[in-house]
Amino acid sequence: MTDLLTSPYPALLVGLPVLLATLSLFFRTRGKALVGLLGCLLTAGLAIVAFIEVAQHGTVIHILGGWEPPLGIMLRMDSLAAVFIGMTAVVGVFISLYAWQYFRADESGPGEFPLFWPLWLFLWAGLNGLFLSNDLFNLFVTIEVIGICAVALAVLSGKTTAMFAGLRYLLAAITGSMAYLFGVALIYGSTGTLDLGLLGQVLEPGTTTTFALLVITFGLMVKMAGFPFHFWLPPAHSAALAPVSALLSALVVKGAFYILLRLWMEVFGVSITYAAGQLIGLAGAIAVIWGSWQAFMQTSLKLIVAHSSVAQLGYLLMIFPLLILAPGVTADSADWLSPAWTAGIFQVIAHAFAKASFFLSAGLIIMALGHDRIESLRDLVGNMRITAMAIGLAGVSLIGLPPSGGFMAKWMLLKGIFLSGQWWWAPVVLAGSLLTAGYVFMLLRLAFAPAREMGTFKPVPKSLEIVALILALGSFLIVFPADYMIQFLESTGVFGSGIESIVEGGAYGND
């Protein structure tokens, strides 16, 4: 632990956005937006610098207060954290630019929501804090910060639908947090430490550990809208303002997934069985089918996009059964671990770009039409060609067609599935893609269809359309540095590792 480089960046990545968020509170409407945007640019810049530092020196740490764990808290920026922080920075900065212009658009815009800026900066600090945290209780505090910010942002529009959805979101978020905290208390009580690294060494199998794992997993599944706890997501994400929908779907739900991944892989290895992995994979598989089917059945654009998030998050859960090895299989012989990890990480990043683009495009369509019922999307291509292109590209990535990041994720997932012999997941991946193609092509068919009446589209700022397009392109561009990224991820951290199940003869055999 002590041979790792100490760096100020982890502390700054949490402190700086909070400082600017606090500062922005002193300003009035326009000033708040200006300080807020400045804060976003600075935070993104800092994240890139920190990413480069990790790329050059490997994992960096910051021991807060100078107190080493287990007494104190340590921030740890390894390659996995760096990738999540970098993704948040790149997607976040484009959403910020969009928001800046979106809230200023006088005509048919939603108006100004100055509170967006401090809330988003606090949210960003919370996300950075979560990715950097190496402490079970501190993770709880970060998910509290994120939860409050996310709910506040979700209700910001002040619409009644958003309020009701926001209340449900709040109750789900609190339930998730409380369950997580209960698990933390059990773990702290039985081990006397909260540091993830130390916990991974000292945790012993037993009822307490298993039960703690269960409630923590439940809490995080609620937070990341994993099936069957996804009910709060579609209303909350679809009723929010466009930039907020993008933030919530692209970034916020990934926070809970990140903790789940870390805790399963690094901490709770002793209690995780092969069957547990199959179960969580099953939840993911149902989410893929159910979410995609629901998205296919919706008639308003934002609800389609929101339900699609449920499905796309399902793919993330499907990597868990691949990462948990059946008894007798060692990590060295399991050649599917690397594809499975690659699938997970690329799914996270590709979905972040594509979904952000999709929601921002939906916001533009609402701006142009005043609503988002899909039958009015006729001749979208003639009226808003850039937005139509963004939706098309984002859709292609969500389906998983080459050469998008989504393709890379789904291809690697299939590769992992076949290498591991768990063939029963393969039809789910294919069916999910097919259903996704169903709703994406339905939208595109309408977009290319000739208009029935003219002049229903009001003009929207071109700069906003371009931001949405850039994000959609981003979900393709991430494929180019893929090799570098996998090497980087493998250089430090948990990437590429697996859990060797110690329980003999799990409920499901491996082939």
Partner: protein
């Protein structure tokens, strides 16, 4: 004997929790909830966590109680508009009740019982003497304070506390964020009667001194910023009820300063010391005591300001939704 007290307290807490859920009238619910908060506070005392007990009593029974009572006023059928709302709400609930809920209820109860049993089993298996008590005691002399809880909150795990102070501010921002909604109409109460004035005049200095005492004693005993902040918030709430809304009487920037002081100074101090080569929230042992006292005082002020503002804004929200944005 003490085991008996514990058992009675545990049963009482669960009984009160159920009663507050099952009570027929909202007023009953709120008052039973007070009692539940106090029972929990007593439970914390029995567990030896005096700090948590004070916070529980102050926040859960005190501040939350005030908010609930305030909300209760909105439900009282004083205006016809409210009555309609209440009726509508009743309708919604009664419609749901007509469906058969027996099976889901039985399943829920069985699930809860199972959950409780497994929880007990899991808690039972926790070995004694765990935790970081020993290492906290060892490091205590270097922390600048004498009370282990304060040492953990303000020094060893200052980062968590700093984020939690942020959470309180975020709670306020979240309430601002909901500001556009107008659900109930509240009658404007001109609280100018003599009795209230006398109560405020009498309690303000006492609350202030008691808060300051709790803040200072936090160095060596149970107490600290959160407890002091709640007591000081009571001053703000009393003044508000007495027709002197603090945030309307001071300049806008001052209000914002009070709200952000705790979080901001905590962080800025950390950044300044970081510039000198320390890590974030690392205090030189020689000055740690003084710095922690300053940080705690400012945090208490901000917590008091945030809680007052939460109360004031919930109070104003119903009347002038447009003003709320401008106060942020």
């Amino acid at each position: 004997m003490s085991v008996l007290i514990d058992i009675i307290l545990a049963i009482l807490a669960i009984y009160l929790a159920f009663q507050s859920l099952l009570a027929k009238r909202l007023t009953q619910t709120v008052f039973i909830f007070f009692a539940f908060g106090l029972a929990l506070a007593l439970a914390w005392v029995r567990l030896g966590a005096i700090d948590v007990a004070i916070t529980e009593a102050a926040i859960a029974a005190g501040f939350m109680g005030v908010l609930f009572l305030d909300a209760l006023r909105d439900f009282s059928p004083r205006t016809s508009n409210n009555q309609e709302k209440t009726e509508a709400a009743k309708d919604i609930f009664s419609k749901k009740n007509t469906k058969s809920l027996l099976l889901p209820r039985v399943a829920l109860v069985l699930g809860l019982v199972l959950f409780l049993l497994i929880s007990l089993e899991a808690i039972w298996n926790i070995p004694d003497g765990g935790g970081l008590t020993v290492s906290v005691e060892t490091m205590l002399p270097e922390s600048g304070v004498e009370h282990p809880v304060t040492a953990v909150l303000l020094n060893f795990r200052a980062y968590d506390t700093w984020l939690e102070i942020g959470v309180i501010l975020l709670g306020l921002l979240a309430i601002f964020a909901t500001g556009g909604i107008k659900l109930y109409l509240k009658p404007d109460v001109p609280a100018q009667d003599i009795l209230l004035r006398q109560v405020i005049l009498f309690f303000t200095p006492i609350l202030f001194l008691f808060g300051a005492f709790l803040l200072y004693i936090g160095k060596s005993g149970p107490g600290g910023a959160f407890q002091a902040g709640v007591l000081w918030a009571a001053i703000g709430i009393l003044l508000h009820l007495g027709g002197k809304p603090v945030f309307s009487m001071i300049p806008r920037w001052l209000g914002q300063l009070l709200l952000t002081l705790g979080l901001g100074f905590f962080l800025l101090l950390g950044f300044i010391l970081m510039a000198g080569g320390a890590t974030l929230f690392e205090y030189p042992p020689a000055y740690a005591g003084v710095l922690i006292l300053i940080v705690e005082t400012l945090a208490a002020i901000s917590i008091a300001a945030a809680l007052t503002a939460i109360f004031a804004n919930l109070n104003q929200m119903q009347e002038k939704p447009n003003d709320i944005e401008s106060t942020t």
